[in-house]
Symmetry: C2
Subunit: 250 residues, 2 copies
């Protein structure tokens, strides 16, 4: 897709995330992998195991971004409603996928593939399977929506099969500069730099480590030379401040 | 608010979360604390440092939930645009808050409170301050929207002042039962239990630990006796499975 910005949203599905019981790790993992191949994640949603909420999130995001990735809710129990909700979002029936059924038949011993487990072989009509190398029950892709497992190890294994299907843009490059100084000291200069480097994204993130405060300045963009020039100018902002201790750039 | 369900949304603001560079820890922390006082988090959003995205998320959520909590984007640099976006969402001007200015004047040495830092003393007209015991620059509340810092230690300290202002519902109680068995084995029985215990929320979460798979069944609700009865029935589901090893309930 060349110069165009390729965009994505991530939809994390599950009451356990919203109750605070489970800490989501899928969003940051997916975001990092997608960014690496030039797909920019512009939005994340965390939705409950409620049909209307899931359908609304999928429909809202699939119209606005090039790709949508969902995690969670594709297991065998009553609270696993992602597949039927995605089918409803697309207005197609949920159907038994013969290959998915065959994969599950290979996974379980005779008699173990009960009706609940067979639910995991159902996908929206027209969907293609996303293979699950860990525990067989597949995810799927329908148009620009990829439906993945919620268990991180399974989601990550599934993504291995998804990644080659994605058309990325120019990969985002990142350079970070950190120093022991208050953000406020360089805020004005940094704002002026952002105006002059409008093609880059300059982020400023305060931290407090080992009893001292400081800030990381993160520059992101697709042109390596522009990044280097901007980083050099940020470092020059520090120079007059004798108390600032540069932590280097990387 | 008695029997009524009190609801909330959490809006995490920041490109650094969507790039995968920073792992958000605020959502799960806030969710856990809110649930404890009977405020149910029904939705999470992670939005970029883009005005239109922030305004849309705030307006969408504040109309649909009792409370909205935002984190991030209230520092002194150009990418800190949360306060002005919340003002725009409410259609009010961003104004200098005298008490906030006084707090910052106490925090910085003479001459250090520059224009960039003074931005942190601006809040939407009509907002009340949320005190920041760590680094002075306050958050604020406007109607049902609470605007908090992004740095976890600061956000958590701010929440200490917010919590007494919240009217919760009946606290959500949680009981968990775990066993070394596949979810699919008990899925049918579990679904039937969910139908009979419609006032409770039964979640099923597979895990893979130390080379063995299993599942945690989490029951949530406000009535302790109903919870206990449901947990006993879940444990009875395991009984016929000789291979299942109960990991106990808690």
């Amino acid at each position: 897709m060349g110069e165009r910005t390729v965009t994505a949203a991530i939809v994390i599905i599950g009451n356990e995330i919203l109750s605070g019981r489970t800490k989501d790790v899928n969003l940051s993992w997916l975001a990092e992998r997608l960014n690496r191949i030039g797909v920019r994640v512009l939005e994340g949603r965390i939705v409950a195991d409620q049909a209307e909420a899931i359908i609304a999130a999928v429909n809202d995001c699939r119209g606005r971004y090039d790709y949508v990735f969902t995690t969670g809710g594709i297991g065998p129990t009553h609270d696993d409603i992602t597949s039927e909700c995605v089918a409803r979002a697309f207005g197609v029936p949920l159907v038994l996928h013969p290959q998915a059924k065959a994969l599950l038949e290979r996974q379980y011993r005779p008699g173990e593939l009960n009706a609940a487990r067979l639910r995991m072989a159902h996908v929206p009509e027209g969907a293609e399977l996303v293979i699950n190398p860990v525990s067989a029950a597949p995810g799927f892709r329908i148009e620009n929506v990829f439906v993945l497992a919620g268990v991180p190890a399974i989601m990550q294994a599934m993504f291995g099969g998804v990644e080659p299907l994605l058309e990325g843009g120019r990969p985002m490059l990142t350079r970070t500069v950190a120093a022991h100084l208050g953000e406020g000291v360089v805020a004005k200069g940094l704002g002026e730099l952002q105006d002059r480097y409008a093609d880059l994204e300059i982020g400023s993130y305060p931290f407090f480590r080992q009893g001292r405060f400081g800030a990381s300045f993160v520059v992101r963009g697709t042109d390596e030379r522009r990044l280097a020039a901007c980083v050099a100018e940020i470092e020059a902002l520090f120079a007059p401040m004798r108390r600032a201790q540069s932590l280097g750039s990387w």
